[in-house]
Every structure is written in structure tokens, then in C-alpha cells.
């Protein structure tokens, strides 16, 4: 198979190697980072990662809700595949 062909879902991930991808995680987290490694479990290694955590604050008396995001960054990280919901290749726009 040539390097450019897409025959199965993970081939799309292979084409995203060394590109910035978007990763949606289980729970309240999203990542953007450069992809350096992956396997069939969707374990990943990303660099220059921007992590976004969406936090809901609920006032215990009034039940008013306020949604805010917390940002973190990581120079290099391993992401365990069982927490990954989707991987999105870099936008073509």
C-alpha cells in the first residue's frame, strides 16, 4: 500500500502524523497538539498541546450555572487511548 492511500479509519490518523490535530476526550477535556505517535488503541503522543477543560459551576442555592474553560499546555504528552472519543485531522481550510 502506498503511504497516501486510505483503506481503513486509522490510515487517516497516519496521514496526520507531524500535523496539529484535535482530540476530543471522554469527560470535559479537549486537546490540540502535534501528533507524533499512535496505535490501534488510539494511544497518542502529542507535543505543544493546548488542553481545554470545560468547567460547570453551579450555585448550590440558586442552581444558577456558569460555564468557563480552563486552559493548560503541555510540551509533550502521552494520551491513553481509552479516553479518546475522536481524533480530527488538521482542517483543510
Amino acid at each position: 500500500m502506498t503511504d497516501g492511500a486510505i483503506a481503513e479509519p486509522l490510515d487517516l490518523v497516519r496521514l496526520s502524523l507531524d500535523e496539529r490535530i484535535y482530540v476530543k476526550m471522554r469527560g470535559d477535556r479537549e486537546l490540540k497538539g502535534r501528533l507524533h505517535a499512535y496505535d490501534q488503541h488510539m494511544n497518542l503522543v502529542l507535543s505543544d498541546v493546548d488542553e481545554t477543560i470545560t468547567v460547570v459551576d453551579v450555585n448550590e442555592e440558586t442552581f444558577e450555572e456558569r460555564i468557563r474553560t480552563v486552559k493548560r499546555s503541555h510540551e509533550m504528552m502521552f494520551v491513553r487511548g481509552d479516553g479518546v472519543i475522536l481524533v480530527s485531522p488538521p482542517g483543510r481550510t
Binding site: H36, N43, S47, F78, G83
Partner: protein
């Protein structure tokens, strides 16, 4: 086996393991097995107030399945080599 081999190259490096329950443990990577269970030495917990039970523990074994992230020192990772290994692994499996 890609990530098992990858982690083996990082033995001796300072890492931060973040668990799915938000506990973050910083320490030196001592060993890893094929389930990606991780052993750390010289550990330090970022939020000791929330996890006081960790104060008397100096080294630990973390079950791979409870890990969310492992933060790594970027200088210890050869990204070009890693990408080559990833390409090899993911075409060899077919």
C-alpha cells in the same frame, strides 16, 4: 508494542502521570510493562491536601488502565524517530 518500547526509552526521565481521578503524580519513571503499568520513584503529589494518603509513599506502581495522560520532557523524545516507528508499526500490522 510501540508504546511499550517508547516508554522503555524514557526510563530514568522525570514524568507526571495524571490519573482519571485527577490525581497527578510527578516522579522518575522506573519501569513499564506491556499493559503500560507504570512504576515511579521519588514521587510528589501536586495536590497533597486532596490526597493526604500519598504523603507517606515514596514510590508507586500505577495500573495502566487508570492513566489519563503522562506528561513527558520534550527533550527526551525524538519525534522524527517516533513518527518513523509509528509508520512502520501501523503498516506492518496489516
Amino acid at each position: 508494542m510501540l508504546f511499550y518500547s517508547f516508554f522503555k526509552t524514557l526510563v530514568g526521565q522525570p514524568v507526571v502521570v495524571e490519573l482519571k481521578n485527577d490525581l497527578s503524580i510527578a516522579g522518575v519513571l522506573v519501569s513499564v510493562d506491556q499493559f503500560l503499568n507504570i512504576k515511579l520513584d521519588d514521587i510528589r503529589v501536586t495536590d497533597e491536601k486532596r490526597f493526604p494518603h500519598m504523603m507517606s509513599v515514596k514510590n508507586c506502581f500505577i495500573r495502566g488502565s487508570v492513566v489519563r495522560y503522562v506528561q513527558l520532557p520534550s527533550a527526551a523524545v525524538d519525534t522524527a524517530l517516533l513518527q518513523d516507528a509509528t509508520r512502520r508499526e501501523n503498516s506492518a500490522e496489516k
